[in-house]
Amino acid sequence: MRLMTSVLAVLAIALPLGAQGTARTAPPDTSRKPVTYVAGALSTPNADPFPSTYKARPARTTVIRNVTILTGTGQRIDNGVVLLSGGKVVSVGASVNAPADADVIDGAGKWVTPGLIDTHSHLGVYPAPGVDANSDGNEATNPNTAQVWAEHSVWPQDPQFPRALAGGLTTMQILPGSANLFGGRSVVLKNVPGRSTQEMKFPGARYGLKMACGENPKRVYASRGPSTRMGNVAGYRTAWIAAEGYRRRWDKWLETRAGDPPTRDLQLETLAEVLRGNIYVQNHCYRADEMMQMIDIAHEFGYQIRSFHHGVEAYKIADVLAKEGISASIWSDWGGFKMEALDGIRGNLALVHAAGARAIVHSDDPVGTQRLNQDAAKGVASGAALGISISPEVAITWITSNPAWALGLDDKIGSLAPGKNADVVLWTGNPFSVYSKADKVWIDGALMFDRSNPRSWWATDFELGFVPVVMGGSR
């Protein structure tokens, strides 16, 4: 998998995004495994119609020394040093060779981790203030809206973005809501100010497809259907059958380029890209038995589920998730609020981890996304109560490298290793203490948040005039 990822990364650089013809690199018909990936590569004629215009801010060479480092790869280095340069992590260890002109930060008593990553966010699509006019997260007009893209709903001026940044969050997957069986495409954003969503888009990040199980779709479509769980499953399968035919027709045309291309269909295009392995399935699903149904559907149509989201019963099938290579994007302790959330337990993260599956702390919440570290800490404590010991260097993977994997970005972010993007958080103390806060946050090596300098804090356009400016309290 790791090898595959790096090969894909090279290709992504070598092939200009959005170029016609990149589709030629795809094998024609049979592949159901990830193939040469370029964002939306097989969407023709334009694979990348809303390209990222993100530009990293100017980054200074920075040394953080005398600090406790959690690398995100399972290591802890006490009294370590991190060197950031050119927007990348250059070295991490007991000592580094730092250039003389580097900014030096003494991290005595502080901790360093990779920037945090949330696989499940609705920032921008359900912004604050939560008024109807800006409620753009659920296209609840049809059980299948695979044709909608979350990025077209994101409001970059959502004041929730800078608050999440102050919690150490550097990357997030913005998902459509869960009203529909197929909610639409997700988008991965860097947590930076932008005039447009494109300026926030993570360059080269693949799309996700939001799918949803259970109560939400059957409640929303009760009068027209699906109104039952069996109706939900029929809806998924019917759509995949159509998508499979669409994929075949297009792949055949892409191979021969003979005659007119088939008619484009935005809905089927997204689903076909899932079948080709180019778009990852991000599946909202609470109950263990429903996750098992979804796994069988994935087997039937030959796609991979990358992450089950919410998964309050993931612990019941943790061994299966490990075997299937499906991550669990879950909360530490939330549940109980509806029937399918009834069996939420606090040991979920620890039990998923102990079974060898990838545990991920996700938020689905603008408050929670500001403190993924605290939710992980609760998961650690609940593990201890079950006799499952989880060290800080492991717990940090739940909010860094594991979510990076779920987004297909573990080659770029989620760990402090040479060559990785310099997305870094300096914490005032152990990030799993309730008393610690993000002190400084870097994205691609640029200092984006500095707690000690409130005047430098990012305030969205909305906040000007509306949100009282009294420094200190809103971050």
């Binding site: 604050a128 612990y315 061994d319 939420g344 039990l351 403190r371 650690v380 309730v434 008393y435 809103s474």
Partner: protein, 421 residues
């Protein structure tokens, strides 16, 4: 019928059966009495459910059940002052929701939801495992939602759970209508309740004009007007808070402010009016136009101005039974945003106890108080800390919650299919 039952319930104070004069001694811990400085190597002695002694190095009486708290922190049981515990079991399942009245005029002051309290709620064992010994559980919705109760988290019946009911009237200054209209309606209601009190006989004969609410509501508001029952008004925007303060002043109400997103802006007024504020320690998002000034150091700023603060994790309207015990993390976050640790402890114990009229029995550790005590493995605001012993009226109440049972069943998920039922 209904009223007599309610009166019977209201009359109940503390009468839980206790096994003889059982003595419990919690020894060797760092004791936080709240009404006084912490005591190293402290002992708390509880006899027949009441605290009989708190002090440094006191020996356990002969025959006492000893809880060794060396290296532990000992505090009063925590109180979450805004929950729906026992009133809402599964939020999305209507048949398990007993916390609201659909009232056409938005007034249900009569509503005493504790008659429908579910003592068997699966969230109650979890909450006490998490170190809560009492909560305020109450109604939500409308302009006047109804009355809240203080309950202890042990007992098989509503009567056994109830510590004080009614404890407060709950009201909301939301934005479902023009603000001025809402405030006028509130004054109209309070005026009519006053008038009603002087004309009960005429009212019964039908010799009064139409009142702003029904008889049960007008009756229920009498203790509020008399100042014997506090009224919790949920208000967020500065101007809404100022309106609440004004109305409280005009009618001499005992106001408790809840929500209070922008309370920090009027902290001095709140302190001067001695109005306690119930709010969380985390929120910082301008989630609505009423909460544009929401900030995470709200509690710290309020306390600095001398306001009596109470930390909660939810609201009566939004529910909050499943994770009611998470209120201690709100406190920890409030401390990280500048609130003093001792103030945070007080905000989870004595402050809510006093605001809801039970401070003479719970919320601090001293001789004469009820034996609601928690022994923590460490700092109770930290995630790594666990409530190791939870006592309500001197009796240990920890035990497996439903969630504990589930996670034990699936400790080894692959083997769970063959687990015995």
């Amino acid at each position: 019928m209904r009223r007599s039952v309610m009166r019977a319930l209201s009359a109940l104070v503390v009468s839980a059966p206790l096994a003889g004069a059982q003595v419990v001694a919690i020894t060797g811990g760092t004791v936080y009495p709240v009404k006084g400085p912490k005591i190293e190597n402290g002992t708390v002695i509880i006899t027949a459910g009441r605290i009989t002694a708190v002090g440094a190095g006191l020996a356990a009486p002969a025959g006492a059940t000893v809880i060794d708290a060396r290296g532990k922190w000992v505090t009063p049981g925590f109180i979450n002052a805004a929950t729906t515990l026992g009133l809402v079991e599964v939020g999305a399942v209507a048949e398990t929701r007993d916390n609201g009245v659909r009232s056409p005029n938005g007034v249900s002051a009569f509503f005493q939801p504790w008659e429908g309290l579910n003592a068997s709620s699966v969230d109650i064992p979890q909450a006490r495992n998490d170190g809560l010994t009492s909560v305020v559980t109450g109604p939500g919705g409308g302009m006047v939602s109804g009355q809240a109760a203080v309950i202890d988290l042990t007992g098989d019946t509503p009567e056994a759970l109830i510590r004080k009911a009614p404890a407060a009237m709950i009201a909301n200054f939301g934005h479902s209508t023009s603000r001025g209209e809402l405030f006028a309606k509130m004054r109209d209601l309070l005026n009519d309740a006053r008038i009603y009190a002087t004309r009960r006989a005429q009212y019964e004969l039908g010799n009064t004009r139409t009142m702003a609410a029904g008889k049960a509501d007008l009756e229920a508001l009498q203790p509020v007007l008399a100042g014997t029952m506090p009224i919790v008004i949920d208000a967020d925007r500065r101007s809404d808070i100022e309106a609440a303060l004004r109305i409280a002043r005009e009618y001499k109400l005992r106001l408790i402010l809840a929500g209070g997103a922008e309370a920090w802006m009027v902290a001095d007024q709140l302190a001067a009016a001695k109005v306690p504020v119930i709010t969380g320690g985390i929120l910082n998002i301008p989630r609505s136009f009423a909460t544009l000034g929401q900030r995470s150091d709200n509690l710290a700023l309020l306390r600095k101005a001398g306001v009596n603060v109470i930390i909660i994790s939810d609201s009566y309207a939004s529910g909050g039974g499943f994770n009611a015990g998470n209120v201690r993390y709100e406190a920890g976050n409030a401390v990280s945003s500048g609130l003093g640790w001792d103030d945070a402890l007080r905000a989870l114990t004595l402050a809510p106890a006093e605001a809801f009229g039970v401070g003479d029995k719970v919320g601090s550790l001293a001789a004469g108080m009820d034996g609601n005590v928690v022994v923590w493995s460490g700092d109770p605001f930290e995630f790594a800390t666990r409530a190791e012993a939870v006592l309500i009226k001197g009796r240990r109440v920890e035990g497996p919650s439903r969630r504990d049972q589930l996670q034990q069943r699936y400790r080894n998920p692959a083997a769970a299919s063959s687990t015995k039922p």
